[in-house]
Amino acid sequence: MKLKYSLITRRTFLNTLFGGWLFAFFSGAFYTLMKFAFPTLGKEPDFVVLDRKDFSDIPNNSVKPFAWGGALGLYFKKEDGSVAALKGVCTHMECNVAYKPEEKKFYCACHQGWFDETGRNIAGPPPKPLEVFDVTEDGDKLIIARKGVKVELPKA
């Protein structure tokens, strides 16, 4: 009797475990496939071109927003007058960040995330630094580009 019982339960147990595991495995694989197949929404631009004179005379230790595709970009002039550009979107849950001139830090109000002047995440929940862009000046144009992207301006 004992043999018969153990046989059946073990078999059904194994089959259920196998089926469930297989199901989980395939769901994971399917999710991954679909993530790739589904169009990537909100693709970002490689670079944006801005008017230089709008941005050249902002005071030191302040930021000026610009449109980075559909998201917020921040043109940032540091205390010492050097400039940088970052994506103003928090890496935690995509709230817009604000610059706090008194502390010289970027602050995300959603869950109290902090980033330092270079965009590094220093406190709060954000898992990774803000994205920093390359800034180049070209005549009266200001070109802000993703790092490592070759800028090819459309002709004329």
């Binding site: 194994l14 595991w21 297989l22 898992p127 990774k128 630094p129 490592g148």
Partner: protein, 98 residues
């Protein structure tokens, strides 16, 4: 801290013979290449945070694979046992219900 390990892992997996060739080739053609060196295209998400998540997922993936293999192994054992007992075959002469 993570970086040296990664390089090691990569090289162990595929690149052992190539390292020497690559090193030799580099010393020879570095001056040549320098002229036309451009930024490498990132074929892998290079933010440390993203890379970390990817390696984590890889580990989870392997966990699932090994789990499946273990379960299949158990199933195979079970099948073997049943086949030894000889109760996997339908009895041709068994009286039918209908």
């Amino acid at each position: 801290m993570k970086q040296p390990f990664l390089i090691w892992a990569k090289s162990r997996l595929i690149n052992i013979p190539r390292i020497f060739i690559a090193a030799a080739a580099w010393t020879v053609c570095l001056p040549l290449c320098a002229a036309r060196a451009t930024e490498k295209i990132a074929v892998f998400p290079n933010a440390a945070y993203d890379a970390c998540i990817i390696y984590q997922n890889l580990a989870i993936f392997w966990f699932f694979i090994i789990g499946l293999i273990v379960i299949i192994g158990m199933k195979l054992k079970e099948i073997d046992r049943i086949q030894k007992l000889g109760i996997d075959r339908d009895d041709e002469n068994a009286p039918r219900l209908d």
